[in-house]
């Protein structure tokens, strides 16, 4: 695989918890760490892998890559290479839903780093004055690239930043898919009813470095990572489901095998797919 990509491993409970509470026709905007959101929102896996590998069969015909995956057919308005790039789009999609009189909601995924961008505050203000159906989901993975969040972020928590705007907010355990789902479901219900925006801060961690090629070890301790690995979101969901008799161990194993094979198939299909023909370089500049 060539080019820039940012792994989502460790943050799965956020994408899954949030997107499970959404309908196909709801919108999301994603971050540079976007393929987790794409899978969770129901994006086509083959097209996603092909896009990550720059193939013509990708969602974006290979023009976007990992950082710009979009699948308009399921409301994925695009991952974004600009930190905080989704705030305007997601809030605008919420305005559009309101103007068109639908009950769609719009979710803006963003990181702790983006919470220091000015447009975060601009769009929260818009969302609050117009009571827009938008849900801001902060994936606080504690590092903006290689810098610890607390070193560059004032206040004690990002969820608090909604308070002066009169926007309800909460902090949830971002390794707990059920907790994320429940918080989101509540926010979705409010948004659909016309009761306006919500901010949810999810406490989470990326196991890998900032991008593929960054081991992520020089600025983080092994102990810290081990602590997070111990509360791995996938393991926790699995234990929760077994403990509550939602699925047996055998059923879960079968499910894992099925997903693995689906992924493998997507990967093989992507590898076999051609790169875009050179003439496409000039296509799609204009609609």
């Amino acid at each position: 695989m060539h080019g820039l990509a940012h792994l989502y491993i460790g943050e799965e409970a956020v994408a899954v918890g949030v997107c499970t509470a959404l309908r196909d026709d709801d919108y999301i905007t994603s971050t540079h760490r976007g393929h987790g959101h794409c899978v969770a929102k129901g994006g086509n896996l083959e097209a996603m892998m092909a896009e990550v590998m720059g193939r013509v069969t990708g969602h974006c015909r290979g023009k976007g890559g990992s950082m710009h995956i979009a699948d308009m057919s399921v409301g994925i308005l695009g991952a974004n290479g600009i930190v905080g790039g989704g705030f305007g789009i997601a809030t605008g999609a919420a305005l559009s839903a309101k103007k068109r009189g639908t009950d769609q909601v719009s979710v803006c995924f963003f990181g702790d780093g983006a919470s220091n961008q000015g447009i975060f505050f601009e769009t929260m203000n818009f969302a609050a004055i117009w009571q827009l159906p938008v849900i801001y989901i902060c994936e606080n993975n504690h590092y903006g690239e290689f810098t610890a969040t607390e070193k560059v972020t004032a206040g004690t928590c990002i969820a608090d930043r909604a308070t002066p705007f009169g926007i309800p907010s909460e902090q949830v355990d971002g390794s707990d898919a059920i907790a994320v789902y429940e918080a989101t479901a509540k926010a979705v219900q409010r948004a659909r009813k016309g009761d306006g925006p919500t901010l949810i801060e999810c406490d989470t961690y990326r196991y890998r470095g900032h991008h593929v090629g960054d081991p992520g070890e020089s600025y983080r301790s092994k102990e810290e990572r081990d602590e997070w690995l111990a509360k791995d979101p996938i393991k926790r969901l699995r234990e929760h489901m077994m403990a509550n008799h939602l699925a047996s161990e055998a059923e879960l194993d079968a499910e894992v095998r099925e997903v693995d094979s689906e992924m493998q198939q997507a990967l093989e299909a992507a590898k076999a797919a051609p790169f875009p023909p050179i003439e496409e370089v000039s296509h799609h500049v204009y609609a």
């Binding site: 015909r61 976007g64 305007g88 605008g92 818009f126």
Partner: protein, 329 residues
């Protein structure tokens, strides 16, 4: 047979275009700072709020990045917003939304997405408004693939081009010279549009081509009048849109006249005049009898004090002198 026309100002033409598009298409709405009851700082939109109400003429916070960003998101999901950015200088606050988002979403998504947003904003000095309210920054956006840039010079063009901008499925920025809002002109009485990418010959001539944009078209027309008195026949060509650019009309005019002066109100350095000059050189090199002259705003911030401000912008006198220096007769 001539079609019926009516006289109106540049500002009224813009307002009529917006009103007609609002009536025609329920997905069109307009938002910006003081666009509602106030009718904008230039009073160009007065009355729209009364007809269309607060759902379609929307006052916003003073937050250009958020404002344009919301417009992009709305355009991406089935609406056709017109976003009003009061002064062209304030576009700088929304550059990420325009350059990284609006301009690229269609391309980056492999054609899945389109962003039918119209951004109306201003250019032009001359109001003693100083360096942060007088710039002509249209070259910035013309530089970015994925954007279209419209720069009308007359009421009739403004109306027809604005309507095309709203109907276009791409992000279009319409630059209105704030000194031209009260300029009067004849406008077709019937419903019409002017396609983007078609230049207009505002005056025919044989000796020299004056390629001019926005308010500089009127400077060029004034110069052409003065040159006619000296027996020099100047052709005035108005590209009307910078992107797409009607290269053919520009080049053909210079092939005919063999000389060109290019006048634009943006800064001369790295600006529109440089680009247009190279377009003409590339297309008409073998026919050109004199070096092309470029006139733009001086490469200084626009000053406040009237006598200082006045010397920064090209005048008809500058154009006449440039042509005289070509020693045509």
């Amino acid at each position: 047979m001539s079609m019926p026309e009516k006289e109106m100002t540049f500002g009224e033409a813009i307002k009529e275009a917006i009103a007609e598009e609002l009536r025609r298409d329920p997905t069109v709405f307009l938002m910006g700072e003081d666009v509602g009851k106030a009718g904008t700082v230039f009073k160009v939109l007065t009355g729209l709020y009364d007809e269309f109400g607060p759902e379609r003429i929307i006052d916003t916070p003073i937050a250009e990045a958020g404002l344009v960003g919301l417009g992009v998101g709305a355009a991406l999901t089935g609406m056709r917003p017109i976003v009003d950015v009061m002064f062209g200088d304030f576009i700088t606050l929304a550059m990420d939304q325009i350059v990284n988002q609006a301009a690229k979403l269609c391309y980056m998504s492999g054609g899945q997405a389109s962003v039918p947003i119209t951004i109306r904003t201003t250019l032009g000095a001359g109001r003693s408004s100083a360096a942060q309210h007088s710039q002509s920054l249209h070259a910035w956006l013309a530089h970015i693939p994925g954007l279209k840039v419209v720069i009308p010079s007359t009421p009739a063009d403004a109306k027809g081009l604005f309507k095309s901008a709203v109907r276009d499925n791409n992000p279009v920025i319409v630059y209105e010279d704030k000194m031209m809002y009260t300029l009067k002109g004849m406008v077709p009485a019937h419903d019409y549009t002017i396609p983007l990418g078609v230049a207009d010959i505002k005056r025919e001539g044989d000796d020299v081509t004056l390629i001019a944009t926005s308010s500089m078209v009127h400077v060029a027309l004034q110069a052409a009048q003065q040159l006619a008195e000296q027996n020099i026949s100047a052709e005035v060509v108005d590209p009307r849109t910078l992107v797409p650019l009607d290269k053919k009309t520009l080049v053909e005019s210079v092939i005919k006249t063999t000389r060109a002066v290019i006048i634009d109100e943006g800064h001369r350095g790295y600006g529109i005049t440089g680009e247009l000059a190279s377009v003409v050189y590339e297309g008409a090199f073998d026919y050109i009898d004199a070096p092309i002259v470029r006139l733009g705003a001086m490469d200084v911030p626009i000053p406040f004090s009237k006598p200082l401000e006045e010397v920064t912008i090209p005048t008809a006198k500058d154009v006449v002198k440039a042509v005289q220096d070509m020693k045509i007769r």
